[in-house]
Symmetry: C2
Subunit: 333 residues, 2 copies
């Protein structure tokens, strides 16, 4: 295992400390239990947005804490759900008295632990509404999931939900917007290489030198099929074909196109894949009006990409364009 | 070779097309010859800042074109200097009548080709002043260099030089600021894994499973020594020890600390290394007042990091903090 770490047991916490030191102007880090909150929070009278999940997906979710996105994020150990008490404390720290939305990616452990935390928070008088994302079209059920997995669509979902809360929407309205994103976003991913969880020390799976995994999960869990390595154009056609057909995205649709790297993929390949995706979508008559390209939802050092497509309306565009000021996403301010 | 590409011959150009499509609001891409300019440029009466070098280092340099940073960038083939005619055309496209600064990283091919382009531009009445960065403390001469290499320090150098031009400094003042950054920034890097140039198809070097290369160059060229894999704290102490001793950075110095990923390094490791670096610098009495953490100057999919330290004064801090609006760096606007 080749990693720049000190000890597998302290990877998540030392990285979290680094985030807190590097971005002290934006976030405040709590170590026991681990969570991040907005440096200027809680914001009284604003609906608070809280998310989280296992570490190893950086900048998800702590990198999205700040103005216009998340109020708090709760990192578990690598690829392990955060505990209910962690989520509860983060929820309390984020609460500004106008209710809290839990943005939960559809993995069994996360669903259960956020649910328990919500019950505990409700018992203390904090109104909590969960919204669940399950945007991965690759597989129906999976190693860690009943139903579809929550994957790359989480990034525009965080952004748009956070912007709705930032403009002063009440809890019900924020939840409606958040659910609208879930209903309109679809994603599929692939990998060239596995990732290695620090405390395991072994790759999560093996792929031959001429193989790739289509429909990969963000923990390296199996996807749809293992096939021979193909060209970027072919890879993109496979991923986007499934994505476009699933919703489906119609001719004339105005979309956000998001090409995400899995952590070990260099930016030159992400932009190349984005270029292929634009050609593919132009042929299908799907319009791209907003874009995101980068390593935003990773699986440690795995090489691969996911492609997300979000069907936009005027309101979603306005919320996507709204100011955001977080460690991993900054715009318009 | 596992890469998401179509053809080794078209990697750089298809990625460039992707950048142009994804960021049409910020940059305009020219394909023959390849260069990027600000979408709203040239800015009349402003000193123009132009840089470039081989592709494979994304987001360097095209990702830094935009308001408050570079006016144009010239990408060569992967790890290959851009040609003089490319640089000349980019210089002409960026020129706003107040002179042009060529920001050149110290590699022999880049130095020669930027020099030739500057002569051609001067012959056409454009005043060009080159500034050269050579911030790598690892080795004196190297495979591609007479003298030290230009590495991670280029990122704050681009930012601060661009901000000086954006506030309206004249050519002489912009050059003075730019040279001040060069005089005050030092960097050293290391790698866990090699990278593979697409048209070669083979890794640039080999490392055993328990080895790393200290002082690596950004093309995978040899550094100081090949040693056994060590902890993050030890790696950081080796890199930063050399950096701090070189300038030297004194007790009480106010610095920008930049932990850069080589392309295949996940963000969790970069923040962990950043945390180690803060501990190291605190022990040396060096203050960190500004920070940057991410994959900003890469070597394709190489896993590794570089650490840069920039000695700041009030003016450099003000210029670092100034608004910037580019594909790869956005703040304060």
């Amino acid at each position: 295992m080749k990693k720049i770490i000190n000890d597998p047991a302290t990877v998540a916490i030392q990285a979290l400390q680094g985030v807190g030191l590097a971005h002290a102007d934006l976030v405040r880090v709590n170590l026991e239990p681990p969570y991040l909150v907005r440096a200027d929070g809680p914001v009284q009278g604003k609906v608070a947005i809280v998310s989280g999940g296992g570490s190893g997906h950086e900048p998800l979710a702590g990198g999205y804490v700040g103005v216009g996105m998340l109020d708090a994020a709760v990192p578990g150990a690598v690829f392990t759900s955060p505990t209910p008490d962690q989520i509860l404390e983060a929820t309390q720290a984020a609460d500004g008295g106008a209710g809290v939305v839990h943005l939960v990616l559809n993995y069994t452990g996360d669903i259960l632990n956020f649910e328990t935390a919500a019950e505990l928070a409700e018992a203390e008088g904090i109104e909590v509404t969960p919204v669940i994302i399950d945007d991965d079209v690759a597989v129906k059920d999976s190693t860690y999931t009943a139903g579809r997995r929550g994957v790359g669509g989480a990034i525009p979902w965080y952004k748009i939900t956070g912007a709705a809360a930032a403009r002063g929407d009440d809890l019900k309205s924020v939840v409606e917007i958040s659910q609208r994103v879930v209903a309109n976003v679809r994603t599929m991913g692939m990998a060239l290489t596995p990732c290695t969880v620090p405390h395991s020390g072994e790759p999560s799976f093996t792929l031959a030198d001429d193989e790739m995994e289509i429909g990969i999960g963000v923990h390296g869990e199996p996807g749809r099929e293992r096939v021979k390595l193909a060209s970027a154009d072919e890879i993109v056609a496979t991923l986007l074909g499934s994505v476009v057909d699933d919703l489906p995205f119609e001719r004339g649709a105005r979309t956000l196109l998001f090409v995400n790297g899995m952590g070990g993929t260099p930016l030159i390949e992400l932009y190349l894949a984005y270029n292929s995706a634009r050609t593919f979508l132009a042929e299908r008559g799907v319009e791209v009006v907003r874009s995101l390209v980068g390593n935003y939802f990773t699986s440690l050092e795995m090489q691969g990409i996911s492609i997300s497509l979000l069907n936009l309306d005027d309101e979603l565009i306005e919320l996507w364009d709204a100011p955001v000021h977080t460690p991993a996403m900054r715009r318009g301010r």
